[in-house]
Symmetry: C2
Subunit: 369 residues, 2 copies
């Protein structure tokens, strides 16, 4: 007999549509590995209307994290809300001894993230973080090519992306991202996901990071749903990220640049890995700077051979990568390369981001491993 | 009556073919502004065979720089040889009070360059340096677009190129470039020309440079003319250059990466300039990392408009940019945007390169202006 499905209490499923409804929900509705048993939103009414909207029967609805954490029908608490709320919503789940999934970034900053990891360790619970670019078929394909040795020694890698965020305007729903203290910005989110993929593919962390961070739009136009400007809002988070560094495992040069908004020139995501024997280029579609959501193509050139597109499975929708992460957490698909990204990985990524902040602030070369 | 043509004594025209024969000679043979009156090579026989090969009548031939410098029929000494020889060949010309053109890099290092500039100033002669990307129709077009304000405030620029040099092999004729002390390498030559174009287009020097320099091939295969390896040769010059910096004139992010050899993926040169209102992309052909020689296309996107190729004059051949520089030195074409790049500019570029070396060595952010 198969194991009974793990019961998930999901925080952040909105009837109005949200990341949770586009990514977690479609997967959870089709899998037999998990079962959605509870919802928590800021109010019970909001949780109820999500349950109604998505025809979720037999789910308990809550308006606070302690209640969902204590629900005996919940094995895993899944947190899919804005970053600044993560810490407050995760703690009660950990205290109740529940396994916890959290979106990336795990928390507003390294200190919060480390505190959560320590508590998780004390409680002996399992953790997963939503760095789901690692489940992208294109990223896995690139990782496999690098691991095969076809590219020879990696001399360098150069990644350029547009982060979608902060392109001169801001919508109400993203206002929370403006203060740098929120930890939910171009550096932490699109860049964070993309550089996590970079490290994953190249099987290496970075060393000797030099960063230039700019805030070219210290004020953004808050716009309504028709993109009409309402008023100016101050922004302290950065909107242009430049780093160079070296790969810990072999010293290859690492250059990553993230620009705000969307590309006007069709270059939303271009990532090349240059080895002594071969090179690969990953190119994303519009919005492809969010590589965790938008699948890039993969092209390979070895030696004197022509550049060729590499066939990769298509991620059917936004729930694909997220679903493969959930599968992997249940032990399914590990043989196919899917993996579990834990809060230990998340803390390492938070450490990288803090190193970037230190470098930009002090003009130094910084390390985190 | 027009001015009589200025008389040029050219150092480095080889009968076997050389940069001088592909760039300076075709121009000098078609212009009425200059006249080639003397040649100097390492031997008189070699200078004679160049004269014969290129049907140059009435040119004096010399085997040493003092002789050509003292020739009363020479107004301008033009030095087109390997960088390590520049200093020794230029000094006698300056001492004889002649105007001097020199290829870029002006000298092996900043100290040599500054010494030459000081002597040139003392002698009151005119100088020009071969940073001829500034005469490229594409570069001039890009400069014009930036100056027009169409792109708005420049938020950042990202340039990626392959430097052709040091791609795992080396030919006899380039062995002189292997020691870093020669000052003739991927950083100084292709990167140097390209970043000079970057500064020229954006009308700004760089500040707060962070650099990562690598030598991924500390040994290269010396190959014969059939590209068969003969033996290993040590290399101390770098072959992978990564910098980030800011524009002095407005703080935009600057990211430049140069990789060795040729691109396997068709990305020999990709340069994007991202403004608040518009962006341009310059893309080079094979070998386009040498933007001073290989003309990139220019594409422009403003606001919500589609990306469009901008029509630019085609540089007919390798002598085009060099010829426009010579023209400008004679006062011709200045109204069309062509300009004279002097040793003062060359020294600034040498200072930038020294700042890059300091940053890479010490892990600091470095300035040169």
């Amino acid at each position: 007999m198969a194991d009974s499905p793990k019961r998930i209490g999901l925080i952040g499923l909105s009837a109005k549509g949200s990341w949770a409804s586009r990514s977690h929900l479609p997967y959870l509705q089709r899998t037999s590995l998990y079962q959605l048993t509870a919802l928590q939103n800021s109010s019970q009414a909001s949780a109820e209307s999500a349950a109604t909207k998505y025809s979720l029967k037999n789910v308990s609805v809550y308006d606070n994290p302690t209640a969902i954490a204590k629900d005996p029908n919940v094995d895993i608490v899944a947190v899919s809300v804005n970053v600044p709320q993560h810490y407050d919503l995760i703690r009660p789940a950990l205290e109740a001894g529940k396994d916890v999934f959290s979106e990336w970034p795990l928390a507003r900053n390294l200190a919060e993230a480390e505190e959560l990891v320590q508590l998780a360790n004390e409680k002996g619970v399992r953790t997963m973080v939503g760095l789901q670019a690692r489940q992208s078929p294109s990223i896995l394909q690139a990782k496999e090519i690098v691991a095969s040795g076809k590219l020879g020694k990696i001399m360098g890698t150069t990644m350029f992306g547009h982060g979608l965020l902060f392109g001169g305007i801001i919508q109400e729903s993203l206002l929370y991202a403006l203060p740098i203290e929120a930890g939910a910005n171009l550096l932490t989110i699109p860049f964070g996901h993309a550089v996590d993929a970079l490290c994953y593919v190249l099987n290496s962390e970075l060393k000797d990071i030099s960063a230039t961070l700019s805030n070219h739009y210290p004020e953004l136009d808050l716009v309504d749903e028709n993109y009409e400007p309402i008023e100016k809002r101050k922004k302290t988070a950065h909107d242009f990220v430049s780093i160079n560094a070296s790969l810990v495992n072999g010293g290859g040069n690492v250059d990553v640049t993230y620009a705000p908004g969307l590309s006007r020139t069709g270059r939303d995501f271009v990532w090349e890995i240059i080895g002594t024997e071969g090179s690969i280029v990953l190119e994303g579609p519009k919005m492809g700077g969010h590589v965790q959501m938008f699948q890039p193509s993969v092209k390979l050139a070895v030696g004197q051979e022509e550049l060729k597109e590499v066939k990769v499975d298509k991620a059917a929708d936004t729930s694909f990568n997220v679903g493969k992460a959930w599968d992997a957490w249940a032990g399914v698909g590990l043989d196919k390369g899917y993996s579990v990204t834990t809060w230990k990985d998340a803390v390492l990524r938070h450490k990288m981001i803090e190193a970037i902040y230190r470098s930009a602030e002090k003009g130094t070369r910084e390390n985190y491993v």
